[in-house]
Amino acid sequence: MQTEETVGKPVPRKEGRSKVTGAARYVDDLSMPGMLHGATVRSPVARGRIRSVTFDDGIPWDEFVVVTAKDIPGENAVALILLDQPYLADDFVNHAEEPILLLAHEDKHLLERARRAVRIEIEPLPAIFTLEDSLAQTEIIWGEDNVFKSYLVDKGNVDEVWPQADLIVEGEYSTGAQEQLYIETNGVIAVANPAEGVTVWGSMQCPYYVHKALLKLFALPPELVRVVQCETGGGFGGKEEYPSMIGGHAALLSLKSGGRPVKIIYDRAEDMAATTKRHPSRTHHRTAVTRDGRLLGMEIEFVVDGGAYATLSAVVLSRGTIHAAGPYNCPNVRIRSRAVATNVPPHGAFRGFGAPQSIFALERHLDKVAQAVGLSPEEFRQRNFIREGETTATGQVIREPVDMAGLVARAFELTDYQAKRERFACENREAGAGRVKRGIGFASFMHGAGFTGSGEDYLKSVVGAEADREGRVRILAASTEIGQGTYTIFAQIASDALKLDYDLFEMAQPDTGNVPDSGPTVASRTCMIVGKLVESAALGLRQTLQTAGLLADEYNVAEWREACQRYIEQYGALKSFSQYKPPPGVRWDDEKYEGDAYGAYAWAVYVAEVSVDTLTYETRVEDFVAVQEVGKVVHPVLAAGQIEGGVAQAIGFTLYENVVWRDGRMVNNGMTNYVIPTSADLPSIRVHFEEQPYQHGPAGGAKGIGELPMDGGAPAILNAIEHATGISFTHVPLMPEALMRGLSENA
């Protein structure tokens, strides 16, 4: 029998039917007998000392479960990288919306009244809200110097290049916060009691992160904590670390209630005000070039605003740092980076994880350098693109074929870039030209897949596969389906590995009581890293059957089924596990931040065409082409969907999504005032893949793609706006007001 290969084909999404019929169960769709609803009382001020907590009259407080920091059985800290963030503020608050007290009641409406009837009196302390103030140490609010983490990448000797440079070009660029805006807000249900421990069901990306955090919070052994992922309505990084917080809160309430289930679902306003956003950033570039447009040296200072606690800022900073010098061959590079503290809610993981910020700066800056040298943006980049055998900023030798010039050519052909570049320039200059200016621009970039450096080696992820008597195979992995297609691509990878029908494969629900720790669902690692483990775990089943003499080298589905049945009858469960091992030859120095930063990179060139209305200051993206080399494409529809969705988020990040802060609080925390692109706003997003199989990737060479599409949109669009208007904008989001100021000043 020949089973058709599924990799490269648009097989039906595993959970597609349940999603289109409304049958899919998200956490808020679940209800348990005796369930209470939980709410969080938060700090009204950004920084201060808690003086008193009082409860207004008119609420039957004796019916409520009330939890404060004093009720925490273990450590009052969210276990992540550091232990600096409390579950509940006890003495001091360090950001607005910081959780102070928890309430639960079975009546949601009474609960909301009660939440408003808790008075928190706080003696305010001076607070800082910008990375500039944090760097200036206007106040010291964290550690000795407000710095969560700093890195230094040092390649060659950048100090020696300045005298030799024909030109030195400087520029400074910045990006704002970005709200996640997954359409399903953060939510969990928890059951906790002293005898049975803690169970949390919820919307999340990383069940084992929540598991680790609950162990510390409740001081329990691993077997008494269980975390189960429900269908998850979007993540993007926003459900990487935050579920540890809300999951812990619900579990604390349940424990105090004597073990009743407690559900906490944030409403949109609370989710936007209190949970994580993309780190705001500032990047300074100083670049040395020769007259003929060769990069001699790059000095880059990259700073991100981490908010009030360390959370994941150190690793966000790491990825941003490593991507800051882009896909270019430059002999001397120095990147200094810092993540600093401010009194705003902690910023966190968000698709791209620091890279969109530093790539925005680089790809804007290189247009400026090109202009200074007198070359077109593409000609300047062509002279500096990295090639096989050359080294990145961290000294990683690129050992795979990389063809950035080819990607540029393909993207230009698809957009008619050269002709449009000339035509728009003429039309915009013409006397009597209309009020609408047009422009076209691009960005070229790369994105590393998997954890940085030795990260995967530390994680040591595990995946299992289990076959039943009917020959059906269940993949046991903690990798979550959050919309990107994990279930589908894992089934494809496993079915192709075993040459069996796709329908025989299913994924176990990510449940720490039932699946091994495959690491978090982040960092564009699910397909490339965990997918490879799925492949080898599946192959392990076959090897087990063959070793037992139950299966021939060639087999059909009936023989497979019979072998599984006979194995299980003779030996019991048929399971196979596979654990991550680094590919040979990988070296990484964590001290020097030098070496092979990522196992593989995706490479991309994105082109944006814009129109700028000089009367209304409205900018529209008229066309967008995303060309990328991502290794083997496992599922063409899902892969294109990842790119299109990421580009849409990038367009939002660039032109629409403006977090308005006042005294450290987001004040436009609703969908009415925080605007994301609608179906009427977006251009046609055209996606083109080049496939250069990665030798250590699954399914014939897949790499990671999830974060990549977030990286290129902002610089491509601002480069196009510069082409349209002649003005070099350096900050995103570029709101109409800023466009108006820019155009007025340059009129």
Partner: protein
């Protein structure tokens, strides 16, 4: 606020079935569907009528059920995502959403499918602009909408198949 208010009796038809319910007069239709009738396919995304995740039909008109006090549907025909598929088969729009990648995380999908059904009911052969404007009241954060447009196009290409 509905606590303390007296419940009243309300009759309506939901997905073809007559229902008589005791409800708070100002309860949101969304909550009655989800909590009283356990029709949890209708989702809450924002609670302020911006995202469309709670879209349902009331007497054939697409509404945001988070903005509808339940008494407004007294005597009305309400259709939710659970009422869109046939007995055995998915509707053409649902089928097309699966095939074309119109659903990713799935949380906007029920509302988006109802918006697409609504669009095709009024505009059987929509242009690209019709599709974009017809779905503009429903936010999706995953797809960038391209695959949703493709699904709508595929659904109406299936001539003779009920949307």
């Amino acid at each position: 606020m509905t606590d303390g208010a007296v419940k009243v009796e309300l009759s309506c038809t939901v997905n073809g079935t007559s229902q008589t319910l005791r409800v708070h007069p100002l309860a949101r239709l969304l909550d009655v569907l989800r909590e009283d009738l356990r029709l949890t396919g209708t989702k809450e995304g924002c609670g302020e009528g911006e995202c469309g995740a709670c879209s349902v039909f009331v007497d054939g008109e697409l509404v945001n059920s988070c903005l509808v006090p339940v008494l407004q549907v007294a005597g009305a025909q309400v259709t939710t995502i659970e009422g869109v598929a046939g007995e055995a088969e998915l509707s053409a729009v649902q089928q097309a959403f699966i095939e074309c990648g119109g659903a990713q995380c799935g949380i906007c999908t029920p509302g988006m499918i109802l918006a697409a059904v609504n669009l095709l009911a009024h505009t059987p052969q929509p242009t690209d602009a019709d599709i974009r404007h017809g779905l503009a009241g429903n936010l999706c954060r995953c797809t960038g909408y391209m695959k949703i447009f493709a699904a709508v196009v595929r659904a109406c290409e299936r001539a003779g198949v009920k949307a």
